[in-house]
Point group: D5
């Protein structure tokens, strides 16, 4: 929500994200520990706490209680966000590598998804993700599991 | 490899990709069936056959034999590609959704990977991916499993 | 499909689109008349004939028969397209006005959809559209009716 | 209107938008309910309240009264806006899908409009839009109805 | 219209534009002289001959006769064009200066048009233009007269 | 002029533009009425008052007197501006239509100007413009008259 | 001029540029020597021969005679070019350095020109340039002398 | 230098530029007069005073004394700047014309420099520039003289 | 970390960078001298102090002690940064030259690395760099030594 | 050099690059082996053979002899190239990593070079590079050694 010079400022998702990060640092919590409080996965908890998703009411209440945030933060966490990113091509190496994977393997993923399911897409809305560690003698690996509902193009 | 008006044209990865697609259509094969021939996964097989990766020699020979391609295609499949994509933001909906996931969840993935592993990245080079179907009463889901070696930033 | 200098060219969606336009001109047919032949709506018929969608088999056969296209065109019409557009901001005035509507009313559409349905989107995949004429003394109007399934963001 | 360090700040459309959103939240009103107060449609009411259109005087007075805004807001709502959007390609998924529809179906819409009406465009100025819900067993659908006056290119 | 490797090429607007320019050079005609043949203004005649507008049937027949073009060119001149320009910012100095005028005076033109007419725009569709010479001792001047119908935003 | 944290702020063209707009609103003046005070045309008066041109001294004094601005504003109005616009492609529909006219008719304007005058351009510096209303039964029209000195390319 | 599949190709400026370069190589001439033939400076001779300027008739005839080009090249050299460059930021280091000079010193050049001459610009149309060598013990220097008519903004 | 909310602000080049401009206006000095004080050319003096170059110590002291700036400004003027410009294509007409000259004549300048000197560039680092007035009956001209050391590509 | 209007500001990497630069200036230290304090190389010390890398705890404590920064700066220096750069093409000449080297020699570096090591990349994560001076009679040279672990593409 | 439809095609650097790659493949040579023939380093040999640098005459003759290329290739290798790259941000991972290094470490390299040498740059013209392998138990490393003459900004 925009500020007005003619009215009191309202708390917004950026405010809450900053308060969450400050509380997380002060309390020494990991995202996994915070996620246990919300009852949601670490991925979704982080995303909603940082303002990229709307948090269900129960989870928002749990988060506010666990981090001792002001009550107004509950409704802010529940607001429907406008998802904006500034960099069409991300520069941070950890995020760029994901972008690169889409660039290199995007046409392959499309070909295999559509050969298996028909003409359509993997939803990015009815979607979930888990990130975990796979131990290995050659160096541990990051495992990313994404799952999205297949949506078929309709004809009419 | 560039063509020259002063020398015979050499077969390149675009030529092989077109021949693979023509043979695949003619033989009625799926990528899974072709991958069985190469001994590699469907994801890597497609990617290398389309020219975005270099295929190991044994797999290249198997592919050429299975699809009855000219022998020259073996060395072309083995060449190290220059990975180029034209659209910084892909337009095809099936690929755009993957891009969107990176835009929405990229900062979350970075935060969780780095909290778990330390300051570093998931490699896009020492990397693999599997795509599969998860059946569900509410509509089948596409499952994407990525795994990349964690690489830690060094200080010096 | 890419051409190869080392194999016969395969018919692709651009070839079929050109043949459809040539036949349409030769036969003096409107898109509405062609759509009657395919059994699909004019919007979808045009989109699939021009290569931006895959046509169901029955419709493709009807189209090929009605326009006297070569049989190979049936399978080409059925192929799953890669949807590409070159201009991030379209220049043709008729298309730009649609882009402008998204620019001006996009945030409004988001606000009203999400207030009515919850946090989510109107699908562009499970989607249909009708274009019609509304007569008026002040000048006839173009009516565009779009309908897309509401997809709700899930949390996990 | 720009601020000056040498004069008192004037209320502008951003100020009013923020005040409207704050009042809407405080009063627990939906856009449909606010639109009943203005006597205009929800689409136009939202667009004008957020600063993307100028509100007729009667509607502006109604809105200011209904939301208990300062009187100065009436003239601000009536000002003619400069319509600016920052993202040539929108990132929010709910708005991007609309952009994608223009990318995929824009040439089709042009072809069908011009075949029906002649060489010209659907106006984005003499234009209106309604958004509604269509219930369905397979999942409710968002319906968007746009109507714009057909404008014919003239020759001279 | 796109070419197909599987069908005869059709004449398109680029072909006609090239034939017009070749005939114009061969016959030593000015655009003003050609416009006298079409019965339209020089601006519209040039624009339609170069493929950026559709020419009315009578004018197209006149042009084809006057320049001794093949009969097929009549229908091509009458086709509804897709207006595409490649350079968002034009580089040719003669065209760039026009772009610069829009950059410098665009907000002024908007302010004065809207103060005079209300919230709306000057149409670029119901539009005409004349270019002429104004003699002056200090150096002759180019005069550009544009006229477009005022279109008022509607509310609904 | 940039501000410094180590010196008093100086009034700049943005300050004056804001003061002019505030005074215009307070006094209920139109641009035509303000232009009568400056002795310049409405187009140039608006452009210079908004900071896109430098105002001659006499006009600046008249403007400051008429709108009761601080005396410092005279020299600020007289400063030579740096002309900057942020949007390579403007989004406001009233300005975009002007941009579209340049896109569609730019090559035509170049061809006709150069055929009449020789190889050169219409100056955007030695330039003037008038905007007026043309009444019409079919709807009033905006008339834009631009005049710029023809500048011929020299060879050397 | 565009080619047409329905008419003979016409010689254009690209053709002439290629023929000039081929003849220059065959005859072992420098641009200074060619310029002596045209009677114009090396800068203008190169620019017009490469298609970025129109060559006066006498010079064009001289060039065609000196390089033994076909007579048709005379009129092509005299045509008024459309000046197009593809790279908004040039990559070749020799050209980039010139771009960098504009980036670094552009605001300085503007300030000094306008302080000396008043509000206006150095023309790029009524313009000339000489490039020469300045010998120096510390390494020879390239000298670039540009001269353009000062054009003053008018007010009206 | 960036500000910190946790430390006192340090004077930076933007601060000094603003102080120079304020003093210049207060004292009624031209850049030529200021340059006499610094002992450097007007071009370099302006560039360094505005923060695009580092000023030698003696000149910086002279400037600070002449304009009565705080002593801290000496070291700030001497700092090595990061040269940043925001507009890849400048919009101000006086600067754009310079950009246009690079676009039109860049390849010509490259060809003539390299024919004279061999494969290499004109340095933009070991570089100087003078701007002067050339009087003429046809209108005075701006003269720009640039000189840069020729740098030859090495092979190894 | 983002600020919140509803909580105390937290020190972030920009704050620390500003404090480091202020202390460096006050104490008259070079980066080499600071690096001696941290026990890390000058390149890494600068990069981490400016916020582009995370500093190991011991080094951070040393830096804070040596420059007399507040204790809170230790944990800020240790935070994992998000690496962001604003200019896809850098404008500062010293940095642009590095970009240019990548543009000119990037394909060469790829070809030689891959011929020597196989299909893969030089890591930018497991990476180090040293910058030094090489004295020479023809002018001293900057030497940049980069070293990155070779990472081989895997197939699967 | 551009082709002309009115003259025989001339061999250009793209032709030679293709012939070099074909000969290299046919002869089974590495770049190191080819460089031994030219007497230049592998980096420069590859760069000049691929058309990004001009090759000294002796080296060009050696290359043409060693690879059995036509004699015309000697002068083509010696031509001064126009260095063009299409991707402002390279997509191939091996090249992107180099771009990323410039993004992350560019400001650091600038700070350390300028602290050591004064205000100036590392030349990309008087420049050389060596790429080598450093063996290591933890995985071999790519070593890149760049050396460029320091160029100091002059003041005047």
């Amino acid at each position: 929500m925009k500020d007005s010079r003619f009215a009191e400022p309202l708390m917004d998702k950026d405010d809450v994200a900053a308060m969450v990060l400050a509380a997380k640092k002060r309390l020494g919590l990991s995202w996994a520990q915070i996620a246990e409080q919300t009852g949601l996965s670490p991925v979704f908890t982080h995303s909603a706490a940082m303002g990229m998703n709307s948090m269900p009411e129960a989870a928002a209440k749990n988060l506010v209680a666990a981090l001792d945030l002001p009550q107004e933060a509950v409704s802010v966490l529940m607001e429907y966000p406008t998802k904006v990113w500034d960099q069409a091509v991300p520069t941070d190496p950890c995020i760029y590598r994901l972008y690169e994977i889409v660039g290199v393997y995007g046409p392959t993923m499309k070909a295999l998804i559509q050969e298996e399911f028909g003409d359509g897409i993997m939803s990015a809305i009815d979607f979930d993700m888990v990130i975990s560690r796979v131990e290995s003698d050659k160096g541990d690996r990051v495992k990313v599991e994404m799952s999205g509902k297949f949506l078929k193009y309709n004809s009419w």
